[in-house]
């Protein structure tokens, strides 16, 4: 049985959340991705040295007004990746707000990662690495990294770092719960809770 982890991507409009996910998932890049409306979901299995994990990636819309929709998604996520655009000051200033949202829902029970994207745009850079690092400390991010989804820089690293930090959710029953082929298969397979339905009447 794979351990599943929920990772939510937050950050202003157009900072590259979808792009980051696409680079990670398919190792491809397009100059433009259609704007994300609401929330998109993808999942990927990651094979690590000592474990295999299933990552559930939740991509969100960046525009301010969508923030009212997002909280319930943050509520039970293990990791929040807050993305900003190194060439855009506002997106960097919003980092604090996004982190507050996360903490309001999860308190300290979440790994916050701060990602400065578009590092390839050297000429347009407005946020220095040092600034990024400082903010990361301030908001209590466990990971800070600068990426370029355009040339793939540091994207794998980001997820490797995250994977290392993931809590071991299965610690209670240890390895022997894995797949347990000897265990009896639960035949009480859901009468799908018709009890509370009764909707047909």
């Amino acid at each position: 049985m794979l351990t599943k982890y929920k990772i939510v991507f937050l950050g202003d409009q157009g900072v590259g959340k979808t792009s980051l996910i696409t680079r990670f998932m398919y190792d491809t890049f397009d100059a433009h991705y259609a704007a994300t409306i609401g929330i998109d979901f993808l999942s990927k299995t990651m094979y690590l040295d000592d474990k295999t994990v299933r990552l559930q990636l939740w991509d969100t819309a960046g525009q301010e007004r969508f923030r009212s929709l997002i909280p319930s998604y943050i509520r039970d996520s293990n990791v929040a990746i807050v993305v900003y655009d190194t060439t855009n000051k506002e997106s960097f200033q919003s980092v604090a707000k996004w982190c507050e949202d996360v903490k309001a829902e999860r308190g300290a029970n979440v790994i916050i990662c701060l990602v400065g994207n578009k590092s390839d745009l050297v000429d347009k850079r407005l946020i220095s690495t040092a600034d990024g690092e400082n903010t990361a400390k301030k908001v209590g991010a466990k990971v800070f990294i600068e990426t370029s989804t355009k040339n793939g820089y540091n994207v794998k690293n980001l997820f490797k770092k995250i994977a290392k930090l993931l809590p071991d959710l299965n610690q209670d029953d240890g390895e022997d719960a894995n797949d347990g082929a000897i265990e009896t298969i639960d035949i009480r397979t859901e009468p799908t809770e018709n009890a509370e339905g009764g909707c047909q009447c």
Binding site: K4, Q13, I37, Q63, R65, L69, D76, A177, D186, C199
Partner: protein, 649 residues
């Protein structure tokens, strides 16, 4: 790198084509300078690994130059002989028979019919320079003069008319030749990577072979429907002239009737859509009331910079990156050798419409997803009409959906859940199993996470949710039949999803139970999470595969187990009910937070307070007997609505 030509060439020739009845007019290719010839190698198109080359290959509708051959060299059209290894075509070829021979269909291939060449060449100097604007200007910074705005409005309009003439030549206007070369025409489309609207045919969810298999059938249907529409219009005395290619897109349509409704549900001819949508949505009235308003707004917003415009700028190129009309062109400047990018005229139109709207309705300003709505409108109608359509959509059809707090989205989700509970009880059971704290959750107030999956169904009116042809069909019905359409279609999609949702929920749960039997942490809440992710993926991805608009409509409107009976009244009343309930709830929270200080929000309330609040809210506005708890809420919506109605009257 392919040398490319601006829209100019394409526009010039297409305009000329319009005047001359397009496909028929053969003109001597005298001015080779302005004659742009499409010479596209098969491989180029398919392998287009950079978007640049893809774009320049498929020049907008008619023509482009490839620099690896002398421009004066090859022409498409009459008597043009093809080397077997190479196919030469343009967008128009998808409809006229001069296109490349279908690869997939060699057996049925007929000899290319000697038709008159469609390639129409504008005489040099006949077209004003502005038509070439796109190719010569770098991306305009936001300081546009009124003059250049007008020019770009023109060029966008021309592109649109170009698209329309493409679409037109795709169907009944070429009937006589369809009989002869129909097979060839329809299948010639199969060799392109674009559909007739300029979108990429394939996606992560639709393979090329799947698309082509569908299109082979569907294109026949499209031609047949167009013929029937023309007959129908004639019968209604609204066409005047329907002879051959000169059947113009009608600007008026017959009064509403069951017949017309049937016709609309079977699809409005693509090239009439702009007019039909505008007409059915009562656009002409709106336009008449507001003469000159749009032009004034354009002037006002020329150099506007604010939060909205900044958000708009970020989304312009993220609207339809997979559509050639919404992709900028890059070209190499012959003199400087530098790569220049020219902004697509439709993107410029998109900018103006969105700027104007944000000015016109500051309460909404700009909301992501409006870019998709306007973008799709612009493929079918000129920008002033698109603007008024957006006004109509946001005011009348989807009120509140794009508001600053997106409350309308939640209301619509609540209505959809209500409908699902009422009409698809099994789907409801599945959704209900994802709700964690059933006893204390009022689904209309705390929407289940799955609801966020359907956010874009309403916000962008199925754009990007369904494949384009299906989306357009939904739009046909929406503008003719009003917003009940959105709920009917949503229900139809959930009906299609029903079996997979049920089995996914079961396997997810049993797998989970099995693996964590011994775990003390295994509980309802874990179950719910597990199921949510699986279901979310299904709800998100399955609609993207619903390529065949006809079968979607069939599911929606079939007599038994269809959703054609869901009435607008029912939807309106339910919307009112949900909106009212949510508003009262918010008011209560506000009262509470003002007592505890502004920082306290609903989520910060203690469990006890939450529970009390919920109980209060029940007492306040739920029909007590019905008690809208997720766990025991009986979904006899129609009955409830009837009661409310009778109470009102």
């Amino acid at each position: 790198m392919q040398g490319s030509v601006g829209f100019g060439g394409a526009i010039a020739s297409s305009l000329e084509g319009d005047r001359e009845g397009l496909a028929g007019s053969a003109k001597p290719v005298d001015g080779a300078a302005s004659a742009r010839v499409a010479t596209i190698k098969n491989g180029d198109v398919r392998n287009g690994d950079s978007r640049d080359s893809e774009f320049s290959n498929v020049n907008l509708g008619s023509v482009s130059v490839v620099s690896d051959e002398p421009p004066s060299g090859r022409k498409i059209g009459a008597g043009h002989s093809r080397e077997p290894s190479e196919s030469t075509y343009s967008f128009l070829d998808f409809y006229t028979s001069n296109g490349s021979p279908p690869r997939e269909d060699e057996s049925k291939r007929e000899e290319p019919v000697q038709e008159e060449p469609f390639l129409v060449v504008s005489k040099r100097g006949e077209e004003p320079d502005d038509a070439r604007l796109g190719s010569t200007k770098a991306i305009p910074k936001r300081t546009e003069s009124l003059m250049s705005t007008r020019t770009s409005r023109n060029s966008a309009e021309r592109i649109r008319s170009n698209i329309e003439s493409d679409l037109k030549s795709s169907s009944a206007s070429h009937l006589p030749s369809v009989k002869n070369t129909g097979q060839l025409k329809r299948t010639s489309f199969l060799t392109s990577d674009r559909d007739r609207y300029g979108f990429k045919k394939t996606s992560n969810h639709i393979s090329e072979s799947k698309y082509n298999a569908w299109w082979k059938e569907y294109s026949v249907y499209v031609v047949r429907r167009k013929m029937k529409w023309e007959k129908f219009m004639n019968k209604s005395g609204l066409s005047g002239h329907s002879s051959g290619a000169s059947f113009k897109a009608p600007s008026r349509f017959p009064p509403k009737s069951d017949d017309l409704k049937r016709f609309v549900r079977k699809g409005i001819p693509a090239e009439w859509r702009g007019n039909a949508w505008f007409y059915f949505a009562k656009g002409p009235e709106k336009l008449k009331e507001n003469k000159g308003k749009y032009d004034r707004l354009v002037e006002e917003t020329l150099n506007l910079v604010n939060e909205n415009t900044e958000a708009i700028e970020k989304d312009l190129h993220r609207t339809f990156p997979d559509n050639i009309y919404f992709t900028n062109k890059t070209s190499v400047n012959q003199e400087t050798g530098l790569v220049e990018e020219s902004e697509s005229p439709l993107i410029q139109s998109l900018r103006r419409v969105l700027y104007c709207f944000s000015q016109h309705n500051p309460a909404i300003g700009y909301c992501q997803s409006m870019n998709f709505i306007v973008g799709l409108l612009l493929i079918f109608m000129e920008e002033e009409k698109a603007f008024w359509m957006l006004v109509i959509i946001t005011e009348r059809l989807l009120p509140g959906i794009h508001d600053i707090n997106l409350e309308g989205v939640s209301v619509h989700q609540g209505v959809l859940l209500t409908c699902i509970k009422q009409y698809l009880p099994q789907v409801w059971t599945v959704i209900n199993s994802t709700i964690k704290d059933k006893q204390n959750t009022d689904i209309l107030l705390d929407l289940p996470p799955l609801s966020f999956c359907t956010t874009s169904w309403f916000m962008s009116i199925f754009i990007g949710v369904l494949p384009i042809e299906s989306t357009l069909r939904v739009w046909d019905c929406l503008f003719y039949e009003d917003t009940k359409t959105l709920f009917r279609i949503s229900l139809a999609i959930f009906k299609i999803l029903e079996p997979s949702l049920i089995s996914a929920a079961q396997t997810a749960k049993s797998r989970h139970r099995h693996s964590s039997r011994s775990s003390i942490y295994s509980n309802d809440s874990d179950d719910a999470d597990m199921v949510t992710a699986e279901l979310f993926q299904l709800i998100q991805n399955t609609p993207k595969t619903l390529l065949d608009a006809n079968s979607l409509m069939e599911t929606c409107f079939k007599k038994y187990n269809g959703f054609g009976h869901v009435s607008q009244d029912e939807i309106n009343n339910c919307k009112k009910y949900v909106a009212n309930k949510r508003q009262r709830y918010h008011e209560m929270i506000q009262k509470r937070t003002s007592a505890f200080g502004s920082d306290v929000d609903r989520r910060a309330l203690s469990e006890e307070e939450r529970r009390r609040l919920l109980a209060e809210s029940m007492g306040l506005y739920a029909d007590k007997k019905v008690g809208l708890r997720a766990s025991n809420w009986n979904g006899r919506l129609s009955g409830r609505v009837k009661r409310i109605q009778s109470r009102l009257s």
